[in-house]
Amino acid sequence: MMELLECKHLYKNFGDKEILKDVTFTLPRGKIIGLLGKNGMGKSTLIKLINDLLTPSDGEILINGVNPSVTSKKVISYLPERTYLDKTMTIDQAFGFFEDFYDDFDRAKAKRLLKDLDLDENSKISKMSKGMQEKLQLILVISRNAELYILDEPLGGVDPATRDYVLDTILANFNEGASVLISTHLISDIERILDEVIFIDKGKIVLTSDTDSLREKEKVSIDEIFRRMFKC
């Protein structure tokens, strides 16, 4: 079976600055994978490249065997760090927008998740707090029946209670059989849900492993391994 995602000898430069260097890895199907690294080590750049938001300087990205394109965007559901919705829209209009463009968007699921937040569909996004906007984005992204969910720092800047909400929402709602790639530096919060980890440092992949065998080998938690590996 074809790999869900393959990155082959991927490079990304901004002028003279080399952000990613010879990044090569594959993502399997049906797993939750953590893309772990300190801030500024290339996690978001890598994710942006996969999502066609950046153009690689060299190398290749294949999603279900094809380069980032309309076909790949149909199967990837991406949650960026930023709030990307048109703030003049209402929640209902945002649902309509996703329905217009994504055939796999499940409005009923989105409505159900919205109900948990006690939000009215007619609320304007601009009137919502930043935290609520981020939760709405998560609902939109997770309500797609995608093959790959890419979540860039979904726990960044949120309080511990919200972190639990985010993780529980992801776990309870992502499409069965799909993979989830989560980038973060808050490993202790996320460790419990990860099947595999990819460690990235200074633009290079330094470790890929499944979490259980890594824990067994090192006899410590992933968080501890991360702390030791990236000690300043």
Partner: protein
């Protein structure tokens, strides 16, 4: 997908422009009402104030239309919203085509609203007769019908606005290829391209002057300008701006298809 993308692009621009449309038509109506009240100095003054506001609003429509279209391109393709735009399952060429079509449609309706407002504010049987007589005379001089004459003038004006808009679009796209100072570079590139466009139009006219002595007279300032010369310049303008618009569209699409680097 083009229809869906275009729907959201048009919504964004019209959301604000429509307010200007309504205000312009409203003040055009008020101008007409105040001026239609006879023997009242105060109503005449109100009429003049409303007339001034109407004219200002007409210019605002054109300026706001341009600014809104450029701002849409920047926000939607390079700002926070670009994280959604570029991850939609839509071809990059389709996204750009939608922006271009949106520019054509909103510019057309803006010019149409301006014409309607002029009609509302100043229409009277006498004015229409006067306009018709004037246009008849001009149309006869140009050896054409009133409709053709108006279509040529409107066409040249419309295309010029579209080309200015596209120079801005290309500037934004080139500017955002840079690694830093993207916005300032976009403005500089837009300005350079606009100046180049104007320079190229003068050069085209000069080259045609090498083959037509009456055109060369425009540069040497010798002798009166004939009707034939004006006609030639208008037609040349339409052909030139149409070609330039096609070239800008091709360059923008090509640059855009090569990929983006959003912050």
């Amino acid at each position: 997908m083009l229809g869906k993308v275009l729907k959201y692009d048009l919504k964004y621009v019209y959301k604000v422009i429509v307010v200007f449309y309504i205000l312009t038509i409203l003040f055009a109506g008020l101008t007409r009402i105040f001026w239609s009240i006879e023997n009242s100095t105060i109503m005449g003054v109100f009429g003049s104030i409303c007339n001034g506001i109407t004219i200002c609003l007409m210019f605002s429509i054109l300026i706001n239309n341009m600014m809104r279209l450029w701002s849409r391109l920047v926000k939607n393709l390079y700002g926070d919203e670009s994280y959604l735009t570029h991850t939609l399952p839509v071809e990059k060429g389709t996204i750009y085509t939608s922006k271009f079509l949106c520019a054509l449609i909103t510019t057309f309706t803006s010019v149409a609203v301006i014409i309607i407002s002029i009609f509302i504010a100043y229409y009277s049987k006498e004015n229409l007769e006067f306009l018709k007589a004037s246009l008849d005379a001009v149309a006869m001089m140009y050896d054409t019908s009133i409709i053709n004459f108006l279509a040529v003038v409107f066409g040249a004006f419309f295309l010029e606005i579209v080309v200015v808009l596209q120079a801005g679009y290309t500037g934004i796209i080139i500017g955002h290829k840079a690694n830093d100072g993207k916005m300032i570079k976009a403005v500089i590139w837009g300005f350079i391209l606009y100046v180049l466009t104007m320079g190229l139009s003068l050069l085209t006219l000069y080259i045609s002057g090498l083959f037509r002595t009456d055109i060369m007279k425009l540069f040497t300032m010798s002798g009166a300008v004939s009707i034939d010369t004006v006609k030639f310049v208008l037609y040349l303008g339409i052909i030139f701006y149409t070609l330039l618009s096609v070239v800008y569209f091709a360059i923008d699409t090509l640059l855009f298809k090569k990929g983006v680097d959003v912050d």
